[in-house]
C-alpha cells in the first residue's frame, strides 16, 4: 500500500515541480506578483511530497516489503535496521530519490530564506530549481522507479551488497548529495543573474553562503567516502583516482575555485563572468558525475546496475541543462562588466591564480577520467588511466596553489607591495623551510626530498594562518592582544580553519606516503611478524564467528611493542549468506600518530596470508578534511550574510542550517 502511496507522492511532486518551474517564470514575464509568489508554496509542497515518497520507501525497507522490487533486490530479513534504512539509498533508484529529496530540501530552504531577495531574482532562482527537479522526477518515474512491484513477491530479499553494509553507507551518500545538489542553488543564481543581467556584489553576497555550505557538505562527503574506502576495501589506500571519485572531486575543485572567485566578486566586483561560469561548471560537473556513475560508460567500483536507456535519458538531460546554460552564458556573458582594475601583485591576482590552478587541475582530472572513453571512441583501443598520471599532473599544480594559500589572505586588495609582503612573511618562511628540511632527518628511513617539500608546504600554509592570527592580534598601541581576534568575522575564522585543515591534510598525505610500511606474509598460529624496529604482531588464535547475516573467521593478533603486549587486532573474513560474497574486514588500531592495519588474505591450511600496513599520520588527512568542512560552515554562518539588504520586512535569513 505504502508503495503505491510513495509512487503517487512522487508523481504529485512532479506536478508541484512543474508549478514551481512555470508559474514564477510566467510571473516574471507578466510582471505579476501573485504568480511569482506561488513559488513558495510550490517549493514547500514539493518538499512535503518528496519527503512522503522517501518515507514510504524507507518504510518498505524497514518492514521487509519484498513485493517492492527494490526491497527484494537490496534488502534481506536478516539485515539490521540501520542498514535497512541506508539500503533505501543503496541502489540506483533509491539514490536517485535521495538526490531528489536533497534538491527539494535545498529548494525549500531557498524559498524560506530568500525573503530579502528582489522579487524577480527570487522567482527566477526558484523557477530554475523547479526546472531542474522536473528532469529528475521524469528520470526517476520513467527509467528508475523506486516503487516498482515484484510479482510474485519473493519470501526473502537478495540482501544489500555487503560492501555497503557499513556505517559509511548511512552517512556518505547523504553528505555527498547535499554537496552535489547544493551547487544547484549556485547554478540557479547564475542563470537568474544571466537572465537579469545582474551580477553586483549583492548578488555575490546572496550566492556565497549557499555555495560555501554546499562545498562544505561535499568536502565532508568526499572525506567520509575516502575514509570508508580506506578501512572497508582492505587495500589501505585512501584515494584511488577511480572515475567515480574523480566525478565527485571535479565539482569540488570547481567549487573551491567558485567560493574564492565569489569572494572577489562580492568585495571588489571583479571576475563576474568567471564566477558565473564556475557556478555553471560546478553543477554541470555534478550532473556529469551522475551520468558517469549510472550510464556504464566507465568501469568503477561504484558502478550501479546500468541500463542504456538511463544513459540516453541523462545525456539528453545533460545537454539541455549544461548546453542550455552555456549557450545562455555565451549569449550574455560578454555584456557583463569588468570590475575595478587591480595590480599584478594583489589579492585579486593571487585569487585569480588560485582559480586558474583549480580549474586546470579539474580539467586534468576530467581529461584523465574521459581519456579512455575518448581513445575508445576514436578506435584507438582500450586503456585505463591510473594514479601515475594523476599524481604526476596533480601534485605540481597544487604546489603553487599551496604557496599562494599562505600569502593570499595577507595580501591587500588592488595592489600589494611585494617587499613589504616578503618582510611580513620572512619568519614564517624561514621557520617552515628549516623545520621542513630538518624534520625528515629524525625519521628512521632514508631522506627523501619530496617529504621535505611536502612538510615545507604544510608548515608554510599553517604559518600563513598563524601570521594572519598574529597580525590581527596587534593592537594599535603595539602589544599583542589575543582578545582582538574576537573582532574578526565568522568568514575570517572559517577561512583560517579551512586553510589549517589543508595544512593538516598535506602533512598527513606527505607523512603517510613517505613512511608507510606494507608487509604481506603467511603467518601460522603462534608466529610473530616484525613490522618495524619495535613493533611486532603475534598470531594468537583463529576462531569461527557468526553475525546476523554472515558467518566467517576472525583471527586475533597481539600487538607487541618491545616484547610487551600492548593491544590486539582482530581482522575478519566474512561470507554473507544471501549474496555468497566474501568480504574482508580489516582491523585497524587508530591513533593520531598513525594506524596499524591488518587484513586477512587467503587461508593456507591453518596459516593465513596476512597484509599488515603501518600508516603514519594517515588520520590527519581526514582531520584536515573535517576542518575544511567545519570551516565552510563557520564561514557561511557569518552574521554578514544574515544582514538585511535594503528590505524593510524582518525576514528569517541566513543559511547556516539548510533544511533537510
Amino acid at each position: 500500500m505504502s508503495t503505491e502511496l510513495g509512487h503517487l507522492a512522487l508523481a504529485l511532486a512532479l506536478l508541484s515541480g512543474l508549478c514551481l518551474a512555470v508559474f514564477p517564470a510566467l510571473g516574471v514575464w507578466r510582471n505579476d506578483r501573485r504568480l511569482m509568489d506561488m513559488a513558495t508554496p510550490a517549493a514547500y509542497w514539493q518538499l512535503l511530497l518528496v519527503a512522503l515518497a522517501f518515507a514510504c520507501l524507507i518504510e518498505n525497507f524497514v518492514t521487509h516489503q519484498f513485493s517492492n522490487q527494490l526491497v527484494a533486490n537490496h534488502s534481506n530479513r536478516d539485515l539490521p535496521l540501520n542498514y535497512r534504512v541506508a539500503a533505501s539509498w543503496g541502489s540506483h533508484e533509491g539514490s536517485m530519490l535521495l538526490w531528489i529529496l536533497m534538491l527539494a530540501g535545498w529548494t525549500a530552504a531557498v524559498a524560506a530564506l530568500s525573503g530579502n531577495l528582489p522579487q524577480g531574482l527570487r522567482a527566477r532562482v526558484l523557477s530554475v530549481l523547479g526546472a531542474i527537479s522536473i528532469g529528475f522526477y521524469l528520470f526517476a518515474l520513467l527509467t528508475s522507479n523506486p516503487f516498482e512491484r515484484a510479482v510474485p513477491a519473493p519470501l526473502n530479499g537478495r540482501d544489500l551488497n555487503p560492501l555497503l553494509q557499513d556505517p559509511g553507507m548511512v552517512f556518505h551518500p547523504p553528505l555527498l548529495y547535499m554537496g552535489y545538489v547544493g551547487f544547484a542553488v549556485a547554478f540557479a543564481f547564475a542563470i537568474a543573474g544571466l537572465l537579469e543581467g545582474r551580477f553586483d556584489s549583492a548578488w555575490a553576497r546572496w550566492v556565497r553562503p549557499w555555495t560555501i555550505v554546499a562545498w562544505a557538505f561535499l568536502s565532508l562527503g568526499i572525506g567520509l567516502g575516502s575514509f570508508w574506502a580506506y578501512y572497508e576495501l582492505g587495500w589501505g589506500g585512501w584515494w584511488f583516482w577511480d572515475p567515480v571519485e574523480n566525478a565527485s572531486f571535479m565539482p569540488w575543485l570547481t567549487g573551491t575555485a567558485l567560493i574564492h572567485s565569489l569572494a572577489v566578486t562580492e568585495k571588489r566586483g571583479n571576475f563576474r563572468s568567471w564566477t558565473v561560469l564556475l557556478a555553471i561548471m560546478a553543477f554541470s560537473l555534478s550532473l556529469l558525475g551522475t551520468f558517469l556513475v549510472r550510464s556504464g560508460v566507465l568501469t568503477s567500483v561504484h558502478a550501479f546496475a546500468t541500463d542504456p536507456t538511463r544513459g540516453v535519458f541523462i545525456l539528453i538531460f545533460l545537454c539541455l541543462v549544461i548546453g542550455g546554460s552555456l549557450s545562455l552564458y555565451a549569449a550574455r556573458a560578454h555584456a557583463v562588466h569588468a570590475g575595478l582594475a587591480y595590480g599584478l601583485m594583489s589579492r585579486e591576482s593571487m585569487l585569480l591564480a588560485n582559480n586558474i590552478l583549480m580549474v586546470v587541475a579539474m580539467l586534468a582530472v576530467l581529461l584523465g577520467t574521459l581519456y579512455p572513453l575518448v581513445l575508445d571512441s576514436l578506435g584507438q583501443g582500450r586503456i585505463s588511466v591510473g594514479p601515475p598520471y594523476f599524481d604526476a599532473v596533480f601534485v605540481p599544480l597544487m604546489l603553487p596553489a599551496l604557496l599562494l594559500m599562505a600569502v593570499g589572505p595577507l595580501a591587500r586588495w588592488r595592489q600589494t607591495p611585494v617587499p613589504a609582503l616578503a618582510h611580513r612573511m620572512r619568519w614564517a618562511f624561514a621557520a617552515s623551510v628549516t623545520t621542513g628540511v630538518l624534520l625528515p632527518l629524525t625519521a628512521p628511513s632514508d631522506y627523501k626530498p619530496a617529504t621535505a617539500l611536502g612538510l615545507i608546504m604544510a608548515l608554510w600554509v599553517a604559518s600563513g594562518v598563524v601570521m594572519a592570527g598574529l597580525e590581527n592580534m596587534k593592537s594599535p598601541s603595539g602589544p599583542l592582544d589575543p582578545l582582538r581576534l574576537r573582532l574578526q568575522p565568522g568568514a575570517w575564522w572559517g577561512m583560517q580553519l579551512a586553510h589549517l585543515g589543508v595544512a593538516a591534510f598535506v602533512a598527513g598525505v606527505t607523512l603517510v606516503s613517505s613512511y608507510e610500511v606494507e608487509l604481506e606474509r603467511k603467518l601460522a598460529p603462534g608466529e610473530v611478524l616484525q613490522v618495524d624496529r619495535d613493533l611486532a604482531l603475534r598470531f594468537a588464535e583463529a576462531r569461527l564467528i557468526r553475525g546476523p547475516n554472515y558467518d566467517g573467521v576472525q583471527v586475533r593478533f597481539e600487538i607487541l611493542r618491545a616484547g610487551e603486549v600492548v593491544g590486539e587486532l582482530s581482522p575478519e573474513k566474512r561470507r554473507y549468506a544471501a549474496s555468497r560474497q566474501v568480504m574482508t574486514e580489516a582491523a585497524i588500531r587508530r591513533s593520531l600518530g598513525g594506524d596499524l592495519y591488518v587484513a586477512l588474505g587467503e587461508a593456507v591450511g591453518d596459516a593465513w596470508a596476512v597484509r599488515v600496513q603501518k600508516k603514519p599520520a594517515v588520520n590527519w588527512i581526514w582531520i584536515g578534511v573535517v576542518m575544511m568542512g567545519l570551516g565552510g560552515f563557520w564561514a557561511a554562518a557569518d552574521a554578514r550574510y544574515r544582514r538585511r539588504v535594503g528590505a524593510a520586512a524582518a525576514v528569517p535569513s541566513g543559511s547556516a542550517e539548510p533544511l533537510r
Binding site: L318, A330, L370, L373, D376
Partner: protein
C-alpha cells in the same frame, strides 16, 4: 566579437564531451581486448580434477594426453593418456594440456571458481551449450580448492569435458585472465579467436559465439 567567441568556448568544450559520452553509451568498457587474440593458445599443462570427464571421451582418447608434470610447456602429442571415461575415482590428479588434448579441434576454455558469483550466473548457459555438444568446454577452476570445485559442479551440473585446476593462478596469468568468469574460444589451429570477460549471456552466445563457431566449423 572576440569576447563573444571567448564566451562560447565552454559550450564548445561541453559539446565535444557530450559527443564522446554519446559514443561511450554504445560501448562496453568491460569488453577488454585480449593480446592473445589470433595468437597460439598457452600450452601449459595443469592438474586435472579427476573423474569429472563428461563427454567427448573419444576425443581425449584419440589424441594423446600430455603428461608432463609441473608447468613446462607440453609439446603436442606427448603420450600417456589416462583413462578418462570411467568416472570412478582412481589415482591422484594427473596433468593435462588442453591445447595439446584438443589440437585440431575447436574448443572453449571457461575460467571459473566456486567463489565467483558471476560464474554461477552463466553456468546454466554453459550447461545448455554442453548439452548441444557443439564443442568441448574446458573448465579452468581458478584459485579454487578441488573439494569446493567438485561440490560446486555436483550442485550446479558439470558442463565441462575436462576440468583443470589452477591452484596458484599461474595459468590464469598465461591466459591473461582479468577476472572470473572469462571465456575463450580456440580454433583447430590452436589459435585463440575469441575472448569474453564477465558472465556469458544469451546475447553473447547468440550474437557472437554461435556465428563464430559456425565460421570455425565446430561440429
Amino acid at each position: 566579437m572576440s569576447r563573444w567567441i571567448r564566451a562560447s568556448i565552454p559550450l564548445a568544450v561541453f559539446l565535444l564531451i557530450a559527443w564522446f559520452l554519446l559514443q561511450g553509451l554504445h560501448r562496453n568498457p568491460r569488453e577488454i581486448p585480449s593480446p592473445l587474440i589470433d595468437r597460439p593458445a598457452p600450452l601449459a599443462a595443469l592438474e586435472r580434477l579427476q573423474n569429472l570427464e563428461h563427454h567427448l571421451a573419444s576425443a581425449s582418447q584419440a589424441v594423446a594426453t600430455a603428461s608432463l608434470q609441473g608447468s613446462g610447456l607440453a609439446p603436442t602429442g606427448v603420450a600417456a593418456s589416462p583413462s578418462v571415461s570411467d568416472g570412478i575415482g582412481t589415482s591422484a590428479p594427473s596433468s593435462s594440456s588442453p591445447a595439446a588434448l584438443y589440437a585440431g579441434k575447436v574448443w572453449m576454455l571457461n575460467v571459473w571458481g566456486s567463489w565467483c558469483s558471476g560464474c554461477q550466473l552463466e553456468h546454466p548457459l554453459l550447461n545448455a551449450l554442453a548439452a548441444e555438444r557443439l564443442l568441448p568446454i574446458v573448465g579452468l577452476a581458478w584459485k579454487d580448492s578441488p573439494a569446493q570445485a567438485r561440490q560446486w559442479l555436483d550442485r550446479l551440473g558439470n558442463p565441462y569435458s575436462l576440468v583443470l585446476m589452477d591452484l596458484d593462478g599461474k595459468a590464469a596469468i598465461d591466459w591473461g585472465v582479468y577476472g572470473a568468469p572469462e571465456t575463450f574460444v580456440i580454433d583447430a589451429r590452436g589459435m585463440v579467436r575469441f575472448k569474453h570477460v564477465g558472465p556469458l549471456s544469451d546475447e553473447v552466445v547468440r550474437g557472437q559465439l554461435r556465428p563464430l563457431l559456425a565460421r570455425l566449423g565446430a561440429s
